[in-house]
Symmetry: C2
Subunit: 210 residues, 2 copies
């Protein structure tokens, strides 16, 4: 089993941790708000260790379950301890003031910007098209959740794919890290569609096969 | 019923025409290669009129089922007759030399570039995430095909949504025409995923709801 560390104590942490525990993975949650992390850990279906950001990271895979700006800031702060680690970027860098565009530079993505901040880490894009509710539920409309995984490091990508598949979801290899540009566009679109889809935030983006 | 005119005589024309005929819509196919249009019309399950590009357009909705460059060139040629019409852009402006990026300018899309060429037309983005095979089949893995529809003109968007729904698919309102940027990224991603998905080109991008 792959141990994972999730940084942040919000809804996406709840979702990813729930799936990880279902897959038998050890989970560590580190957060600035250690009280929130402790409360969340108590509500999760399994044993989770918690601590402040800065505690020794026990996971082989580190998930930054934070908004875009915060993820970059924490990554910069933890650059040295993240060196050599698999670091998963899950963010959609939406301009929340307008909800009409992304804040990342043209021809880049949250994942690629993160990779510039932690060049010695193996950055993987994943979980940016899966909402927290379906992650907790473990499915959407009876379907396994599709998790699109993009990375330049083949070994790191394989580790995340294995983590996803072993946690009851379906990993889809989405290619190189720069495909995060399209994945983040898709994640953003999935968010903007909520108005037309009833604002349940319980939908999933699925590739259906004939 | 809404009459539609499709320009081009390739696989996407076959797919969209098949669905349109299933919905009881009259279909006209105009193509440079009128022999190909005639052959295709003979293979379609219903009555289809054909002719060369330049023939009077009978459809209320005009679908440009052509590669990106060709679609822009034909639109420029037909600018006057397309004025006031609903013009549907279905293309993914992929750089086929590298299969690694889109050829459209940053912060734009095929649909927005088309709208610049035919400013008096009502440009609608649709059908760029649906492959030809599933359109002919009418489904993917037992699911109705999701067709994402983006446009600035509300009436034109409603007409295309109605056409899609009445032809046995599910239209999803994807917002303003600029959302074509994300839709084309998603369409491109769906194409690049084919390697990982077995190269069947029979998959569909579906929003599943809890």
């Amino acid at each position: 089993m792959t141990d994972i560390t999730i940084i942040g104590a919000g809804n996406m942490t709840r979702g990813i941790a729930t799936r990880a525990l279902a897959g038998g993975h050890a989970v560590q949650i580190l957060a600035r708000d250690t009280a929130a992390a402790g409360t969340l850990a108590g509500e999760l279906p399994g044993t989770v260790t918690t601590g402040p950001i800065g505690d020794a990271i026990t996971g082989e895979i580190v998930v930054l379950a934070l908004p875009y700006d915060a993820a970059l800031a924490i990554a910069e702060q933890l650059r040295e301890v993240l060196a050599g680690k698999i670091v998963v970027d899950i963010t959609n860098p939406v301009d929340f003031a307008t909800f009409d565009s992304l804040v990342t530079p043209d021809d880049s993505s949250s994942a690629e910007e993160l990779a510039k901040v932690v060049p010695a880490s193996k950055v993987v894009k994943a979980f940016n098209t899966t909402f927290a509710g379906p992650l907790v539920a473990g499915e959407s409309d009876g379907h396994k959740l599709d998790v699109f995984v993009a990375a330049d490091d083949a070994e790191a990508k394989a580790a995340v794919v294995s983590f996803v598949d072993s946690s009851g979801m379906r990993a889809i290899d989405a290619g190189a890290l720069k495909r995060a540009q399209q994945l983040e566009g898709m994640g953003f679109l999935h968010m903007t569609l909520q108005g037309a889809l009833g604002n349940t935030w319980s939908t999933g983006v699925k590739i259906v096969a004939a």
